[in-house]
Symmetry: C2
Subunit: 362 residues, 2 copies
């Protein structure tokens, strides 16, 4: 029995971790049990241990941007899943140009040899996502020297003519990225499941005299077959409608996420940062962040199924941790997003919250 | 009222952090409230928040070696103490050659500007502390490119003719390091307080007609004065014996800590790793680690006041977390060290344990 696809939030704080909230790390668990992580702030490996997820099942990690609260947990997690040979298959990492240098530097200086191999695919940044002051401080983003002993060469991925970074396309998923405006280059990731084949109409096939077995397989693989009675059986006649794939968007920090309009329409789930409340809009924008209203307006334009808010300033306490009547909680943020999208369309993420993403109906 | 000098253990696990134990980080709090950290594994900033210590009081950090469980928490801690302008004065860091490169790379790629300045002093490694396989994998340990905007140039410190790295000498402390044998270059740090002046014999001075005031200050600063009755008053006649300074040794990972014999005699406290029990000696040595017996034999040779064990394999549960009768706890390690040093001379560190280091008697 396959488990469902779901999202688990392992850290929902902005800037720095606290005993009540981890920093950015979101796990997308697929039906086959494999896990893709989005961001990996300091302490993510401990949050994973506290959750029901197995770190050894992580086979892809996507880093939205290189701020410490989104990547300082990466070298430690990579070392820990190497302990006791937990992990074997290759780990694929995707993130902005500079990610390979950070990982190589951290793993080489700590002389960490791994039990598995890894590859870093870098997203080349574009002019539009750079802040005005970018060139006042020159930083070398290129990985130098020889590869780490467990590192395999990765790609440098540039955007296509529509401004979309095409990261993955296999028989199950298409993963794209778009740029976001932030204080440093930031990305939003869009994971789209491919449609799955409809069900074979068993009753119809039996009535045509086609027995279950190898012929069923041929039809599923798209072949037209002849039934034992000499009748032509075309796949489109006996296969139900395909089940549309799910679409999940997980964003980095952003003060402008409008680029998502090109890839994110009708997403089942949009995970969007909401660092500060609407009243602090000017401060949010100055720091490259969003308010609940900004997130909800985008969610509405994209016609998303659910908007999930995360990446809160530590000033907004988790609902369960409000102790004095003056404490602000995330409920402030929830209400502001609901004012745009309506009740039932917004979820405030909390550490260890799991949100199922049910299959779409055919 | 000055608080006492004490040691707080913020992480006592080896290899990787878990929900029940952090990785290496030990805080030495001085009487003036300032804090020196020894090692800073991933999550140390969260452990600091959970403790009674203020991260903003940290003004020196010593890194014993570059394994991730001893330094991956450093960039995050450095960024977090910069939040809300918590910290102002300069942060001084000491650690093996390569530390500057790791910090510069992490802070530059994450584009972390700080509210304070920092300086990294590197300990040049020596041939004796390199493992046989060291040259099979070439890693660049030099920090490259321009300084981080908050970075001031640091020293490269080589050992003196006795094989001792002299790190600090000011009016209060002398800090030295010696090399330890491990899988990568590792150091042990010896913090020695300078003797403090004895008390003025108030009764004797009054009987000689010397009134409290400026004359007292002159005597304390070493001057011989004339009493109002024309008598010569020499400091050595009216000052009590100086109070000897305390000595604290905090070690990195090691399978051979014999170099400590040159600096560590009569330490008040020796913090020594004991990763595995005596029965696993071969495995401990192979991984560059110590057993309780090894730690205790060194402690005995040094005539230390207390031996504190730490850096346990996660297989040894904290005493409070033993749930099944088959669970091994740190009590196994405690007993093995006590077998050498005797009861009352050994402490097993646990996360958040604070050990006072009382002043020595004059």
């Amino acid at each position: 029995m396959m488990s469902s696809m779901d999202l688990t939030f392992l850290g929902t704080a902005s800037a720095y971790p606290s005993p009540t909230r981890g920093v950015s790390c979101t796990a997308l668990k697929h039906e086959d049990g494999s896990i893709w992580l989005f961001d990996c702030g300091e302490g993510s490996q401990i949050q994973l241990m506290r959750s029901l997820l197995k770190a050894s099942k992580v086979n892809k990690i996507f880093i939205t941007h290189l701020h410490g609260d989104h990547m300082f947990g990466l070298p430690g997690l990579m070392c820990t899943v190497s302990q006791n040979n937990q992990k074997t298959g290759q780990l694929e990492l995707y993130g902005p140009h500079g990610l390979r240098r950070f990982i190589r530097c951290s793993l080489q200086l700590s002389r960490s040899e791994l039990t598995y191999n890894y590859v870093v695919h870098e997203l080349q940044v574009v002019e539009e996502q750079l802040p005005a002051e970018w060139n006042t401080w020159t930083v070398n983003h290129d990985a130098e020297g020889s590869l780490h002993p467990n590192e395999h060469p990765g790609q440098q991925i540039s955007p296509d003519e529509k401004g979309v970074w095409n990261l993955i396309e296999d028989d199950r998923f298409v993963v794209k990225a778009v740029w976001l405006k932030h204080r440093i280059p930031s990305f939003g990731f869009c994971v789209e499941e491919k449609p799955t084949q409809g069900k074979l109409n068993d009753a119809m096939l039996r009535s045509m005299g086609v027995p279950p077995g190898p012929l069923y397989g041929k039809i599923k693989s798209g072949e037209t077959i002849m039934s034992p009675t000499g009748e032509e059986v075309r796949p489109e006649d006996v296969l139900g409608p395909p089940r549309p794939g799910r679409k999940v968007i997980i964003m980095g920090d952003t003060a402008d996420s409008s680029q998502l309009m090109s890839v994110g329409l009708n997403a089942d789930v949009l995970v969007h940062e909401a660092t500060l409340e609407n009243e602090l809009l000017a401060q949010a924008l100055q720091n490259g962040h969003s308010t609940p209203e900004m997130a909800a307006v985008l969610g509405k334009s994209l016609n998303v199924g659910k908007l999930v808010l995360t990446h809160y300033s530590q000033r907004y306490k988790p609902l369960g941790a409000v102790t004095e009547k003056d404490d602000k909680s995330v409920s402030v943020l929830l209400e502001q997003a609901e004012a745009v999208l309506g009740k039932g369309k917004v979820i405030c993420a909390e550490d260890f919250l799991t949100i199922p993403i049910p299959p779409r109906k055919a």
